[in-house]
């Protein structure tokens, strides 16, 4: 081979994409990584907000994978374009609001655009037939290849032997005999392969790569859409869904209540954009109001805020309310009793 072939690997930070990239590197191909940031990625966010999460060792798994492989990693912000995938997935959702199949198609499509503009030859992913019930099945593999526009430039080194030969195999850029035929939900072949490559401390397979697979998170997102009367979101919305306790005491507004100092500090950054409340006679949370709220609603919000402060058992608690026009007023309220908060208010 005179001309060294180049492949871009979709790097999620999990074991499968790490292995797929290494398998292709072993064949003398120049590999670089690409990682997509949708705004919903579990990576990174929450650890920065909550103190208890800060204590955990933190790393960006995609960067860690790239470092193990000794390859460059290109992180691509797809926040804006991804909205349409979440809002209108052609192939529907998984168990929660995770549009996995559309998401895969979109990411491979972006990778296809990337190889065209960077003069790379093909794309690799860590997909394994049967590994995920919705997006990684034998019948979805060709759908992803076709609808993404990658066609036979999409090679899945971990299950290629169970699929028709792709162009990199047919042209002899890679040796099909040295690829794998993994299938099904078992992780054993991947772990054995990780062993042979000497990979340790790789990210363990979790439920998925993003918050959209999380039931509670998806419920909060569905509530947001319902309350707004349309399926729409901004980056700030989806960040705030990861933070605090969310309560909807009224169809027109919900409260985002900081659970500890780290979250209160994070929420402080949103004070200019949201009506917000905090207790002044006792230590307590910072609370943002998302939606339209009248005086009656503010009084209720103040009583709930007091409930989540250290004045929960006090006779009266002062709560300062700041509205968007910069006005502030103080409500002296009796904290609402825990039993008076219907379970249905908690999102």
């Amino acid at each position: 081979m005179t001309n060294k072939r180049k492949a871009v690997a979709l790097i999620s930070g999990g074991l499968d994409s790490l292995l797929a990239a290494r398998v292709i590197q072993e064949q003398g191909i120049h590999v670089e990584g690409i990682n997509f940031y949708t705004g919903f990625c579990v990576e990174g966010h929450t650890h920065a907000i909550r103190k208890k999460d800060r204590a955990r060792p933190k790393r960006n798994n995609a960067l860690w994978s790239a470092e193990q492989l000794g390859i460059k990693l290109h992180i691509v912000d797809i926040i804006e374009e991804y909205k349409d995938i979440v809002i209108n997935p052609k192939h529907g959702y998984g168990a929660n609001l995770n549009p996995c199949l559309d998401c895969k198609i979109f990411m491979v499509h972006k990778a296809r655009e990337w190889i065209d503009s960077h003069d790379f030859d093909f794309i690799i992913t860590g997909e394994v037939i049967g590994q995920r019930p919705k997006s990684q099945r034998k019948d979805t593999m060709p759908v992803i290849a076709q609808e993404s526009g990658a066609d036979d430039l999409l090679l899945r080194p971990l299950c290629a032997r169970n699929l028709p030969p792709t162009r990199p195999e047919r042209e002899g850029w890679v040796d099909r005999e040295q690829l794998f035929g993994f299938e099904g939900r078992t992780r054993k072949p991947q772990m054995a392969l990780a062993n042979t490559f000497g990979f340790e401390e790789y990210a363990q397979p979790a439920g998925g790569c993003c918050f959209l697979t999380d039931q509670t998170y998806s419920r909060k997102l569905a509530d947001l859409w319902k309350a707004r009367g349309e399926r729409r979101y901004e980056l700030d919305d989806i960040m705030l869904l990861k933070v605090g306790r969310h309560l909807r005491p009224h169809p027109d507004f919900k409260m985002i209540i900081g659970r500890e100092d780290g979250e209160n500090k994070f929420l402080e950054g949103y004070r200019k954009q949201y009506v917000h409340l905090f207790t002044t006679t006792h230590r307590g949370p910072l609370v943002l109001i998302d939606g339209e709220v009248n005086d009656e609603g503010l009084e209720l919000a103040a009583r709930i805020t007091a409930r989540f402060s250290q004045g929960r058992d006090a006779e009266l608690v002062d709560v300062e309310v700041h509205t968007l026009d910069g006005e502030q007023q103080v409500f002296r309220v009796r904290p609402i009793a825990g039993a008076a908060i219907p379970g249905g208010w908690y999102l």
Binding site: H45, H47, A48, R59, N60, E67, L73, I75, M239
Partner: protein, 76 residues
Amino acid sequence: MTSHRLDARRMLCPLPVIRTQDRVAQLPAGDCLTVCCTDPGAVHDIPAWCRVNGHELLDIQHENGEILIRLRVGEE
């Protein structure tokens, strides 16, 4: 050699890394960039990103709750 500054305050990882990457892509090798951030995750992620992509981490300073990460742009 020119010095540049990037404001990535209030952004959560990996956004400070993405903004750093996009800014570095516009700079010639040898220039310095100081990234100002507030997410403590950036202390790990930006140096890892530098190692992976061939840029030199110069230093990290903490100032009034902000983190200043200085790097030198590497060759392509």
